[in-house]
């Protein structure tokens, strides 16, 4: 009898706790959580929150949208399907992007971090403002295959969203501008700046001999494109990869209309590169070793590569290993496990 009573109370307690948690999903976001802090040594951000004031409610709504498959046509995939937190919001072990009905896209899912320092977005730089980027995955037939107008219609019929939008904007309007702006509040705050590399630069951590050598080599061979501290110069270049004829992706040429831009792709930032495999715009390399091999050989087997790439020249085994050892210091566990960016459905 006593046991039965205990079980009864335990179950009741569980139901109550679960109900409570369901009412307040995820980690609640405070004012402090949404303060924009520019890391030491970082330049002034290029995206301006002036016309998109960050608030705990706005960030919370953006986070819910990011994790909600309601954005896709058949409610099967969300942003996080391809942008996984533990991979700095890249897609672990997937060379090309995935969409509804098992469709496969043509490019590798990029990491989402330090976005407010980017001049343009996507591998080809076709997107000119962080806020309008999500229209691409939402409307791309190989990704969410949905229309903005229909997403808005679905949100308007969802009482939870009606309340969340009202909490942010204090009126009853739900439109694409607000959907996109709250998403930008969430993604814009994804800032990675506390890797071992950052602490080493700040004098708060040490590097091994190998890592020091790797950093030195990196600065000599790679940093003309992968400029510190963001590890990209925001440019578009040809890295000499042989075009994949099954994808026929001409890259930047598609959005600029200039033949001289064909096969150029964004110089990606390298932070958390340990987690963002596979690599390159089409995810053709599974290991950093493959990437380094490519650059080491770029001068010998290609004519399309950027001059900065052919200039790298052959790297010895030791040089390649040292550079990789350095790249691994760019892993930022604080960012990867930041609870603010976790799925609000997970407790």
């Amino acid at each position: 009898m006593k046991n039965k009573l205990l079980i009864f109370f335990s179950i009741t307690a569980c139901i109550l706790l679960f109900g409570f948690a369901a009412r307040f999903p995820g980690n609640s976001i405070s004012k402090k959580d949404v303060e924009l802090k520019i890391p030491a040594g970082f330049p002034k951000p290029l995206y301006d929150f002036k016309n998109n004031k960050i608030s705990p409610a706005g960030f919370t709504l953006g986070r819910k949208l990011f994790y909600d498959p309601i954005l896709s046509k058949d409610s099967s995939i969300s942003c996080q399907t391809c942008h996984q937190r533990v991979a700095a919001f890249a897609h672990i072990d997937h060379s090309l992007s995935h969409g509804i009905d098992g469709r496969i896209g043509t490019r590798n899912v990029p990491a989402l971090q330090n976005l407010i320092w980017q001049t343009t977005y996507m591998w080809d730089g076709g997107v000119n403002n962080l806020e309008v980027q999500p229209i691409n995955p939402i409307t791309n037939p190989d990704e969410m295959n949905e229309s903005l107008a229909h997403v808005i219609a679905k949100l308007k019929q969802n009482t939870e969203y009606v309340q969340l939008f009202r909490k942010v904007y204090r009126d009853t309007i739900i439109n694409s501008e607000r959907l996109l702006k709250t998403l930008a509040q969430f993604t814009g705050l994804m800032i990675s700046a506390n890797s071992r590399y950052d602490r080493y630069i700040a004098g708060r951590d040490t590097f091994s001999m190998q890592e020091k050598s790797g950093l030195q080599l990196f600065r000599a061979k790679c940093a003309s494109c992968h400029k510190e501290p963001l590890f990209s110069d925001n440019s578009y270049r040809s890295n000499g990869l042989k075009p994949d004829t099954s994808l026929n992706d001409t890259g930047r040429g598609k959005v600029s209309g200039l033949q001289s831009d064909n096969y150029k792709f964004r110089v990606p930032g390298l932070r958390n590169i340990e987690m963002t495999f596979p690599y390159m715009h089409d995810g053709r390399f599974r290991k950093l070793k493959d990437v380094l091999n490519h650059y080491s050989n770029a001068a010998s087997h290609t004519t399309t590569a950027d001059a900065d790439i052919t200039r790298i020249g052959r790297l010895s085994d030791k040089e390649r290993t040292d550079i990789i050892a350095f790249l691994l210091t760019l892993t930022d566990k604080e960012f990867l496990y930041d609870a603010r960016f976790a799925d609000p459905g997970l407790k």
Binding site: G126, V127, N129, E131, V132, L148, R178, A184
Partner: protein, 248 residues
């Protein structure tokens, strides 16, 4: 002493409010109607069959465009900005009728505007109203607004379904499609206090397909920005004209 002071203050307040209200009242209203034509005929979607300069028959299913940065020019050369972005859509009657409530009274000799959206608003992120990307006039893959859409069917078209789709946009060199239009009024336009002045702008869609470039449906049935868009933007820059008062 105190009484005099109060009186003076009172008078000043009265004077200011008087000035203020007269300033408010010296504005009138302006109604601008857009009348879509295919040469001499009123444009009809889907049903009417037209011919291009090459004699190729076609029908129109969609005709819409942005108008922005409207400026009214007074007789003394002073320009009055009429703010707003307007998506004029043949298929939406209300969109073809613009109403402006507080135009400063005076004599106006011309107006100018751009067809499309200025470069700043092509880069301003998510916007609402006429510029809401959900209106289908925004390119997601290559951020920027589609300034004009002309779509339809032509037997000569080599595209599936015999369709043609001209999506004109792009705010950057080398294919900047922003075009400025300047329209002179034959007779001065009077804007009077509390009165409404009427203006009808005729829009000849036939100009999209001709002069300087004659569009051949068999070789060009789809345009999405870039060089061909810029070419068609040059074509349609002269499609606007002010209707004579008796044409309204």
């Amino acid at each position: 002493m105190r009484k005099t002071f109060r009186l003076i203050i009172g008078l000043i307040i009265l004077l200011i409010s008087q000035l203020h209200s007269s300033a408010q009242h010296s504005t009138g209203m302006l109604s601008i109607a857009f009348k879509h034509l295919m040469d001499g005929q009123v444009l009809q979607l889907d049903s009417a069959v037209y011919k291009n300069a090459m004699g190729q028959p076609f029908t129109v299913s969609n005709f819409k465009y942005y108008i922005s940065n409207i400026q009214l020019v007074k007789a003394d050369g002073k320009e009055i900005a009429v703010p707003g972005y307007f998506l004029i859509n043949e298929d939406e009657e209300a969109s073809k009728q613009l109403m402006f409530n507080s135009i400063p009274a005076g004599e106006y000799v011309s107006l100018h505007f751009i067809i499309g959206v200025d470069s700043l608003h092509n880069c301003s992120g998510a916007q609402s109203g006429a510029l809401d990307p959900a209106k289908g006039m925004f390119w997601a893959w290559n951020s920027g607004y589609i300034f004009l859409k002309l779509e339809g069917k032509a037997a000569a078209s080599a595209s599936p379904g015999k369709i043609f789709e001209y999506h004109i946009g792009g705010y950057k060199a080398p294919a900047n499609c922003i075009r400025k239009v300047n329209l002179r009024f034959e007779k001065n336009l009077h804007i009077e206090q509390k009165n409404t002045a009427y203006l009808t702008i005729k829009v000849n869609a036939a100009e999209v397909l001709r002069s300087p470039a004659s569009i051949d449906f068999s070789t060009l049935s789809s345009v999405t920005g870039f060089h061909n868009a810029s070419m068609i933007a040059d074509n349609y820059t002269d499609m606007f004209s002010i209707a004579k008062p008796d044409e309204k």
